[in-house]
Structures are given as structure tokens and as C-alpha cells.
Subunit: 333 residues, 2 copies
């Protein structure tokens, strides 16, 4: 195994976020399940958007948010995701490159527009996402650069990739290359409804060793093992994967490995504004900690720190230097 | 004079904001004048954007921000501004309509893209704007609907309209219609460099009665009368216009009229984040107060309240209900 050019390479659905603060009545009035990510078609997107209040836009996408966080912390990061060569796609490409991320995926010259997620943020800070995949569904195995994957210490994949058929093939191709090069593969469960859709396949990826690391929140973990009992689910997780990291919102996280199970408290916040990106940024901090060899506890603290920053403002990308924030709190960078 | 269908009709350059937090070195390194609005061409826009960090986007434009603030407070508001029928233009149209504003200006089917301002926000909260006018420069007198202008109690115009030649003609057409219908015309000076460019014309608009109300900040007032002395400038302003409102940042505002000069303190804030839109939202609150017949002092307080909301977050559009905020503080709505 040669030394890595990138610390982490992320692959995901490239999605532009359209965020609006609203009330719970909007969700119920539009038949939305609070806290989830629903896939929507163009007509539904148009209908939801027409009813939404004035919005704020910024680049998003789960794995992309994670990769931006990793770069922001100071590691070498790359991203693969499909945008269209349209105005929003150009904003998207700018933002991820401006964050210091290598991003070379060829934009689609035609076809559906760059994907958008219409994100409703309720007064409790919870976000409910409605995602039109658009160009993201056209990510194919041809977009996976074998040399780049082989040159990345950790391959980070989002469960959402299982939604578009060809993206799933890209996922499998990338993980095969990564393991062939002796690299590690991390997978995030993405969303409990996503786990519902692909439970058996996700469990298969864990049990056949495709995924070395798993990120899940409590709802995703419970959905994965179809049990309301956290401890029982955690025990099963330990049997199924080498390293499992479970986030528990204000209760912090649990890291389960062959070394045992450790709990790391959440990072304190002043005010919860918008949970969009909380899990993504937690994964950023944790993976960054792994890359720096900081140990699971410090990695969990870095995850908590990055998540705390992102939930105190609107949007899923950091608005301050996470590196400086980590330094200020005595965490390794 | 028939009763008004709209309380305020605003006309301005329709501009989409691309905001980024940066340091002072970025401004000096790119030859920018801090706190100002510079007009840039497409090549310069591309060059600045390439060097900018990850951004947040939202709809902007000075008069549009004001009109959105007025609608947010609960008055009937309309806007005229030119976008292109492109992705960003569609975001723009959505946001202003979603704010409750009547917006019927036909988007340009071709030509330059919807205008964008690249806004650098420094750690002191100051914003420095670089504006590519794009489609906004194609606003023409044909975009002015005579019936709509005549049916609006106050016509609100931004000084920035003096930059694109045909927009200036639209400005003149609209103000002529408004006065013909017995309506009032308000003008904001927009920017001290804008005043530098059009000093004599702006003074002419005041002295020949085209503008009944003038909004200016201290720098704009000093530029208008080319004097460093505030009191001397204010005396001249009183001679030149029926009602002059001068904003003074944390010192509040001064309202100069035939009734005398009154000072209104600023609304207290917790933390200055981004001054983008401060003057625009002050004008929103003040005009709303006039519309409601609240008197100059209460109008100044409403202006201060709206400005205080917008400078405590990124971006120039309100992120909360100004109406509820005003009610909470005992101000008339």
C-alpha cells in the first residue's frame, strides 16, 4: 500500500440546499414526515417550492458536507458527485472547491438539473428534507477514478447512494477498488427511511466486510435491527462491523469496536437553530480524528465539536474555521 | 386621488447575493474599497468568485430588500426589477413572491444572466459588495406599469437605478406617473460612491421636487454635500427636501422635516454579524411606520428594529417575522 494522496474521498449525491424556516403546520399540510429525507420528483418539487417561504441557498449533500468539514479541519479531501453544468451546478462546484476539496467529477452537459433539496426547518431546529435528485442520479461507475480511490486512505460513502441505481454501481466499484488497495471503507446509514429501503443490503455490506466503519444515528440503528432496544441493537452492530459509531444527538455518541464501547458526551451549544448537517459534520470530525490518529475518544469529541458548530446556524456547511475551533478547545488538529 | 392598492411600490436593480465571510486581506488583495458597492463586469465577477470561499446565497437588491421588509411587517408591497429567466432568476422570483410581494416584471428571455452581487463580510460585520448588474441593466420604461405606480401610495426608488441608463429612464417615468397621481416619491442615496457618480442629478431630483423623501446614511449625506460636517450637511438637506432621514449606524437616525429635527436611538443588538441590508431594512421599517401613520419617532424606531434584525445574521433579508418582533416591542403594526 502506497502512502495516500487524500485522507478521505467521499462519494455522494451532490445536492444544492434550499432552506426555509417554517412551522410544523407546513409539514403536516404537505404530508411530510418530520426529520426524514423524502425523495421527490420534479412536479412535487415545484409544488413544495411554490408554497415555501423565502429561502436561503447553499451547497449541501450529505457526504459532500462531511468532506467539506474534513477539509475545513485541515485534512486532504476529495469528493465525487454528479452535478449538471447549469447555474446551480456552478455554484455547487465553486463552493466545494473553495472549501479546499478536490472535485473533478465531470458535470452532466444535459439531462436533469443539478439536484436540490427543499429543507424545512421547524422552530425546534429539526430539518425535514425533500430531495429532487436531478443530475445526481446520473452518477455512474465511469465517474469513479480508480487511481484516486486507490490513493485515498478512507473511502466515505453515503447510504443515499443506494437510491439511484447507477450510483449504487459506482459505490460498489469504488469500495472494491479501495479494498483492493488496502484502504478503509466507511458508510453512513444516512436516514432511517433509507435504512428501511435497503436494510438487507446495508447489513450485507457490513457482514461481507465491504464497510469497515459504520456511522448511524439512533433511529437508523433501530431501523437497521428493527428493534426499539438500543443496547440490543448496539450489540448486534458490534458483531456486524469492525467499527460502529452511533450518534445520539444531545447525548453525544457511542463508539463500538473490538476494544469495547466508549461513550463521548456532546459538545455544549448555546442555541439549536437547524440540525441540517449535524450527522454529516459529526462524521467529518470523527473521520478527521481517525486520520490524525487521535483515538476514538478524541475523534468523537472532534465530531461533537463540528456538529455543534453546524447546528447553531442555518445550513449544513461550516460557517467558521473548525480547525481554529478545535485548537481553541485543545483538540488535536 | 383614489385609494391605494399598494402601500409601497419599490423599483430597483434585482440582484442575487452571494455572501462569504472573509478577512480584510481579501479586500486589499483584490483592490476593493471596504464598505462600498463596486460595479463589476463579468470577467471581474468570475475572477473575484474564483478566489472567494464557500458561499451562502439568497435574493437581495437594495429596494427589493426594503420591499420584502415592508411586506414582512404586514403592508401591501410591490416590486419592479429585471431578472433573466434562468435558474437564479427563478430563485429570485420565488423569494420575493413568497415574501408576499407583488412581482410581475417580465423576466428577460435572453441576454445577460440574472445580476449577482459578490458580498464579502469581514469580521467587523462590514460588507463590501461587488455587483455584476447582468439582466438588471435591461430594466426599461416599458417595465413600468402606469396603473400600478398610480395605485401605490409611496413609490420607493434606489439611487443605484441611476447606473443602468435605461433603468434611469424607468425611474423618471415612474416618478412622473406617481406625482401625476398625487403619490409620494422616496429615494435612497444607496451608496456614497453612487452619490459621487450622480451628485448633481440627485440634488436636482431633490430640488425640483421629484423626491419627496430622502434616505441617506452619514457617508452618503457628507458625499452629497461634499462636507465632513454633519450638521452643515443636515441643514442643507432640510432646505433641499421635504423629509430627510439620515441613518447613523449605532447612533440611530435623524429625521429632518419642516417640523424640525428629531433623533431616534438605534435598536440594541446582541452581536453584529453582517451589515448587509441594514439601510434597506431601516427604510422598510420607516416607510412602514409612515404608511401606518405612526409618526416620525415611531417610524424611526420601526426602522431601527428591522435593521437590528437583519444585521444579526448573514444576508439582507429578514429571517424572522418583523411584525411579531415589532408587536413584542410595543411598536405599531
Amino acid at each position: 500500500m502506497t502512502s495516500a494522496k487524500y485522507d478521505v474521498l467521499g462519494i455522494g449525491n451532490a445536492i444544492f440546499d434550499v432552506l426555509v424556516q417554517t412551522d410544523d403546520g407546513f409539514l403536516t399540510g404537505h404530508g411530510m414526515t418530520k426529520g426524514g429525507m423524502a425523495l421527490i420528483d420534479e412536479a412535487r418539487a415545484a409544488s413544495i417550492y411554490r408554497d415555501m417561504g423565502p429561502a436561503t441557498e447553499m451547497s449541501g449533500g450529505s457526504a459532500a458536507n462531511t468532506i467539506v468539514g474534513i477539509a475545513n479541519l485541515g485534512a486532504r479531501a476529495a469528493y465525487v458527485g454528479k452535478i449538471k453544468d447549469d447555474q446551480i451546478g456552478r455554484l455547487y462546484a465553486h463552493d466545494i472547491r473553495a472549501a479546499g476539496v478536490a472535485f473533478e467529477t465531470a458535470p452532466a452537459p444535459g439531462g436533469p438539473a443539478t439536484g436540490c433539496s427543499y429543507i424545512l426547518v421547524t422552530p425546534d431546529g429539526e430539518r425535514t428534507m425533500n430531495t429532487y435528485l436531478g443530475a445526481a442520479q446520473d452518477l455512474t461507475p465511469a465517474d469513479i477514478d480508480e487511481a484516486q480511490v486507490a490513493a485515498s486512505a478512507i473511502l466515505y460513502l453515503e447510504g443515499y447512494l443506494w437510491d439511484p441505481a447507477s450510483a449504487k454501481e459506482a459505490f460498489v466499484k469504488a469500495s472494491t477498488i479501495a479494498h483492493g488497495a488496502g484502504r478503509q471503507v466507511a458508510l453512513t446509514m444516512s436516514d432511517s427511511f433509507c435504512v428501511d429501503r435497503y436494510r438487507d443490503e446495508f447489513l450485507g455490506l457490513m457482514r461481507n466486510g465491504t464497510a469497515d466503519l459504520i456511522f448511524a444515528n439512533e433511529a437508523e440503528l433501530r431501523s437497521l435491527y428493527q428493534t426499539p432496544d438500543f443496547d440490543s441493537a448496539l450489540t448486534q452492530l458490534r458483531n456486524d462491523v469492525k467499527l460502529g459509531i452511533v450518534t445520539r444527538s444531545e447525548k453525544g455518541c457511542v463508539v463500538a469496536s473490538s476494544e469495547g464501547v466508549i461513550s463521548v458526551p456532546a459538545f455544549p451549544i448555546q442555541k439549536l437553530v437547524d440540525t441540517t448537517g449535524a450527522g454529516d459534520l459529526f462524521a467529518a470530525g470523527f473521520l478527521f480524528g481517525l486520520v490524525r490518529g487521535a483515538g476514538y475518544e478524541k475523534a468523537g469529541m472532534l465530531g461533537g465539536l463540528a456538529a455543534a458548530e453546524v447546528i447553531q446556524h442555518i445550513g449544513a456547511r461550516p460557517q467558521t474555521s473548525l480547525k481554529e475551533l478545535a485548537q481553541k478547545h485543545g483538540l488535536p488538529v
